[in-house]
Amino acid sequence: MARTRYAPDRGLTARMTLTMFLLGAVFVGFVVALVFILSAVNASNAAIVFFPIVLGLGLGIGSLYYSDKIALRSAGAQVVTAQQAPELHGIIDRICALADMPKPVVAISPVDMPNAFATGRNSKNAVVCVTQGLLRRLDREELEGVLAHEMSHVAHKDVVVMTIASFLGIIAGLLIRFAFYSELFGGDRRGGNNNNGGALPVMLIIMLVSIVVYAISFLLIRLLSRYRELAADRSGALLTGQPSKLASALTKVSGDIARIPSRDLRDAEALNAFYFAPAITSGQSLANLFSTHPSLDKRLQQLDKISKQLGQ
């Protein structure tokens, strides 16, 4: 058996497992709480709970199936052939051959902000997109590092994992809204009929529970997202064997993004979860807990460690 240099990062695995376990626990707790509340009164309000869940499921599955098209559309990206972008295709061909993965669709977005994203529900339907700004700023090996990071997202099925993880948040968010509107408008319809007198506090309780679940799941999802980014950095760096190139790409890209005026960036924030590095607006001090990506320091630290391991 050949020796291996690729020791898994147990700490990261453990933290990720714990995060996913907590998300699952919150989900179970949420369902139990809803069932409990609804069974305490007669279940006339069940539709109001049932409908958001169906809607949330629909949204989740829909966004999973159309994730590639949605992301390409909102980034204004064009799919490019091997003739149009031979260099980019050449790099991706080699990464795919190294990692034994099917080749994704390659797209270029005309945006000048340096960034890249990968999406698609599985590796057969994957799309990797880079912006013109990224192509202009990075040299070929840095670009390779970024693309290896994105291909690792594809290999880890991060779009599926994050969609399932966000499902809890989507349902809680929808429930808050539904409960709120039924509070506002539901009262009138019932008029003076008082035999459903439990309705008002029930909806209020559902709303409060949903708000708490939403807040907790929001933090956990962001935490999970940061761990997935670290995992993709790690796999990408090990795939090319060049962690320092990825690190140098990260410093270039993060520096450039921070320097771009924030007015242009506001449009870009919706796409953050897909991006290689997030478009950060001002106020970074509180950002760490809420951000989708780990801090630059943390990412560079991990890459340093991998570089040392490879050099031994």
């Binding site: 050949a2 020796r3 291996t4 240099r5 690729y6 898994p8 695995t13 990720m16 497992t17 996913m20 091997a82 031979p86 050449g90 790099i91 061909d93 080699r94 795919c96 051959a97 190294l98 990692a99 034994d100 099917p102 080749k103 070929r140 090996e141 390779e144 690792s152 290999a155 880890h156 099925k157 991060d158 994992v161 761990y227 997935r228 995992a231 993709a232 796999s235 090990l238 795939l239 090319t240 064997g241 060049q242 962690p243 320092s244 190139k245 570089s307 040392k308 490879l310 050099g311 031994q312």
Partner: protein, 190 residues
């Protein structure tokens, strides 16, 4: 990749698969009979060098090893392409395809022993003849072959490539997914 690895975002680097490589010499005879393409005696191994001293040391070890086995044949040439991949070009007499394949295998075992097996990308053996120039490329991670026939500029002679697959498709394990027949423009040994 297993379910758990996906869930935890772990990728195990893919180890190279050498099972099929040694089928090449006999397939070359069939290829010559069917298309008139003969081995040029040049072959090369391509790998992605990792940063750091460990890999540099192994790289020079591999080079010394191949030069020792070369005898009076020309020494191996080491070059880096524009994608940052390293190519080791080995030249042997045209009728010694076995020796070429053995050398290619030596590169693999040196890399694998030091834990850098996943860095191997592909290997190619050059052929030439009346239909043109051609390389049979071996993909380490898939354990499959595909033909690559460059024409002038950056265009490929797809007809010749498919003809070659027809001729030796039964002797070699060919890559069935055509999208993985990626071009290696200007590769040493072509």
């Amino acid at each position: 990749m297993g379910f758990l690895d996906t869930l935890l975002g772990r990728t195990k680097p893919v180890q190279p698969n050498l099972d099929q490589l040694f089928a090449l010499p006999s397939a070359a005879i069939t290829l010559q009979a069917a298309t008139g393409l003969v081995p040029t005696g040049a072959g090369s191994v391509c790998f992605r060098s990792a940063e750091g001293r460990a890999f540099r040391d192994i790289e020079s070890d591999v080079r010394d090893l191949l030069n020792m086995s070369a005898g009076d044949a020309p020494p191996v040439e080491l070059s880096t392409d524009s994608y940052g991949f390293t190519w080791l070009l080995v030249r042997r007499p045209a009728d010694q395809l076995d020796a070429l394949v053995t050398d290619v295998h030596a590169v693999n075992s040196s890399l694998a022993d030091s834990g850098f097996g996943p860095q191997l990308l592909c290997s190619l053996v050059g052929f030439a003849g009346p239909p043109g120039r051609l390389a049979i490329v071996y993909l380490y991670k898939r354990g499959t072959f595909y033909p690559f026939a460059p024409k002038g500029g950056e265009t490929r002679d797809n007809a010749l490539e498919l003809q070659v697959r027809g001729a030796i498709g039964d002797d070699l394990k060919f890559e069935t997914d055509l999208s993985r027949w990626f071009p290696v423009w200007g590769a040493p040994g072509l």
